[in-house]
């Protein structure tokens, strides 16, 4: 018996699949693999030496550490912002809502300069913090501040719609069963938000790892202290050390990939646990 072809309302699956694959290859896969190919010009010993010099290792630590830290801050305060924006009405709410997107729209260099001006020892905030022994500009703390700034919208914008869809009834049900506010939040609301929160966290983290423009102004770029990995790549390029630059790039690529993979795995695990179900 002849097999019936599956009929779809919208035709063109083959065409759109082919286009998607071609597009992804051209835009993502080919440039990334070029980095790998360029790196193969080095012997393994040379490669290992390039990517493990203390200065480069310090930059990995800063980049990934600061990004992780910034993403965690964003997860917490982004959740809070999303909560306030969905649960309460207050004058100027629309304005605050729009303000959240600003880090998306602002050229990163502008953000970097603005943050530096504010946090420098003679800036508005810097001059207040300086006497207390807190230096922000030109320290790793400055890197965290910049990365937090650019990552803010991700968590807010992923959590907000989920929070809006949350049934108020389940919270009322929890309250009528005797749960206090914290128990309701912890046992009823948070599990529902968890996948969205994790997505927002992953996006903020990924963005922070790749951030360059806003960081280099505020970081001060002192080797071993406040130099981020993307800057090291740029420096190597400027010295015409193309293979060295791609070697570091490859390491970053692999670490980023592994981290995102881990976060996605966590997401998959938590959504499966939720919706063994749906």
């Amino acid at each position: 018996m002849a097999k019936h072809k599956q009929k779809n309302v919208l035709p063109g699956f083959n065409l759109s699949l082919g286009y998607t694959l071609l597009y992804l290859s051209l835009i993502v896969l080919i440039p990334l693999s070029a980095a790998f190919f360029k790196t193969t010009e080095l012997t393994f010993a040379e490669f290992w030496h390039t990517v493990t010099t203390p200065r480069v290792v310090a930059s990995y630590k800063l980049t990934f550490g600061a990004s992780l830290f910034a993403a965690i801050i964003n997860a917490i305060f982004g959740l809070l912002t999303a909560w306030v924006l969905t649960r309460y009405t207050f004058p100027g709410k629309k304005l605050v809502d729009a303000l959240v997107d600003l880090p998306f729209a602002l050229p990163t260099a502008v953000a970097g300069i603005a943050l530096t001006a504010v946090y420098a020892t003679n800036g508005w905030l810097g001059s207040i913090l300086e006497p207390h022994g807190i230096k922000v500009a030109f320290t790793p703390l400055g890197v965290v501040v910049a990365l937090t700034f650019i990552g803010l919208p991700f968590v807010v914008r992923t959590v907000q719609p989920v929070l809006e869809d949350l049934e108020a009834e389940t919270e009322e049900a929890a309250a009528s069963l005797g749960a206090n506010r914290w128990q309701t939040f912890r046992r009823v609301i948070l599990p529902a938000l968890w996948p969205a929160l994790l997505t927002g966290f992953a996006l903020a983290f990924a963005r922070a790892v790749g951030e360059y423009g806003s960081v280099i102004f505020i970081a001060g770029n002192m080797p071993m202290v406040s130099e981020i990995t993307p800057l090291i790549i740029i420096t190597k390029l400027e010295q015409y050390d193309y293979t060295g630059a791609t070697a570091v790039a490859v390491v970053m690529l692999v670490i980023s990939f592994l981290l995102l993979f881990a976060i996605n795995g966590l997401q998959w695990w938590s959504s499966r646990r939720n919706s063994a179900s749906r």
């Binding site: 009322e172 009528s176 069963l177 939720n274 919706s275």
Partner: protein
């Protein structure tokens, strides 16, 4: 536990949801709040639960003031129309929730929680679903789990907000009988909200008919069905034919016929509305000497336990609905277009002032 509701008022902006509502729910009764949507019945239920607070008035549980008591401390079980189950928890955890969130001092041991939850799941006959998640269950199963969850905290009062509203007709019918049996077993004071008169008439000990934020009538199902206190209750509970009539010295005149009432003897020529249930209309093919309305059969609904006739009166514009038994229908051998004579068996008349008179 009995519930006493005194002078409750609630407004949302310009909309008056509840206007001076007084109601007593005796201990152990199953009471239905019945009314069209927007009549305030859900608001009243939520105020009893403590999910909403009244603008004015008070709620007493067993004589004790409870108006300002938090929903957490009211010891009420609340069942929502759309179940409101925790979808990330198994059925077991859903039912156990109310026990697990108790403060350490009063929280039962794990073994005790296990025992109680399974006992409740057996009560709702769904023990075999303990490890499933809510989205894997059917609507009827979800609502029974929601009920088990509400009962887990041993509430003094059970409140149900349109509990079967989201279910299909068959499941709905099974579940409401089951709820009635469950109530007869547990005897928890229960209040449920519904807009389905059939549901209220079948399940409740007592029906509270509401309209526009006020209570129209309180009574047993038979009382409110047989002796509606107002035209609204008449129309809301079951099908009814409405006739314009005139009342004069104890006689009601509908079209050509007049019926003697056992009241309104001193009323002179007053406009009134007369109500007749479809099953209280007798249908004849011959004008056997009595005063009758003449009509033409315009449609016959023969499917169902009885036969419903749509009748076009000769002198009036509004169609009349009559309901006769299948035997009677065969006896009369009616066809569409047949000429028939109608005699109201039982009429209730409401004068413009709104007083009631069974004939």
């Amino acid at each position: 536990m009995s519930i006493e509701i005194r002078n409750i008022k609630k407004e949302f902006g310009n909309f008056t949801a509840l206007d001076n509502v007084n109601l007593d729910v005796p201990n152990g009764e199953l009471v239905a709040l019945l009314g069209p949507s927007g009549c305030g019945k859900t608001t009243l239920l939520r105020i009893i639960a403590g999910l909403e607070s009244p603008d004015h008035g008070s709620i007493h549980f067993h004589g004790e003031e409870a108006t300002d008591r938090d929903v957490r401390e009211r010891q009420v079980g609340f069942v929502f129309q759309h179940y409101a189950l925790f979808r990330h928890m198994t059925v077991f955890e859903n039912v156990a929730f109310g026990l697990r969130v108790r403060p350490k001092k009063t929280r039962p041991t794990e073994a005790e929680i296990h025992r109680r939850v399974h006992q409740l799941l057996e009560l709702v006959q769904l023990d075999w679903l303990a490890d499933r998640y809510p989205p894997q269950l059917s609507g009827g199963q979800r609502q029974r789990i929601a009920l088990a969850r509400a009962l887990a905290v041993e509430p003094k009062v059970l409140l149900l907000d349109e509990p079967f509203g989201a279910l299909d007709a068959k499941v709905r019918k099974d579940l409401r009988r089951w709820l009635r049996r469950l109530h007869d077993e547990l005897h928890i004071t229960s209040v449920f909200v519904t807009h389905d008169q059939e549901e209220a008439l079948e399940v409740a000990d007592r029906i509270v008919v509401m309209n526009h934020g006020r209570i129209e009538q309180i009574g047993s199902p038979q009382e409110v069905y047989d002796n509606p206190a107002s035209p609204f209750v008449y129309k809301f509970l079951g099908n009814v034919n409405q006739f314009n009539s005139r009342v004069n010295e104890g006689q009601a005149h509908i079209g050509d016929i007049s019926l003697s009432l056992n009241q309104h003897h001193s009323i002179q020529n007053s406009n009134a509305l007369a109500y007749v249930r479809p099953h209280d209309i007798e249908v004849f093919t011959e004008p056997n000497g009595e005063q009758t309305l003449q009509a033409i059969v315009s449609y016959i609904h023969a499917a169902g336990p009885s036969v419903r006739l749509e009748l076009q009166p000769v002198n009036e514009s509004d169609t009349i609905e009559a309901e006769i038994s299948r035997e009677r229908f065969r006896e009369l051998a009616l066809n569409q277009g047949a000429h028939v004579y109608l005699k109201p068996r039982r009429v209730q008349v409401f004068l413009e002032t709104g007083t009631t008179t069974p004939s």
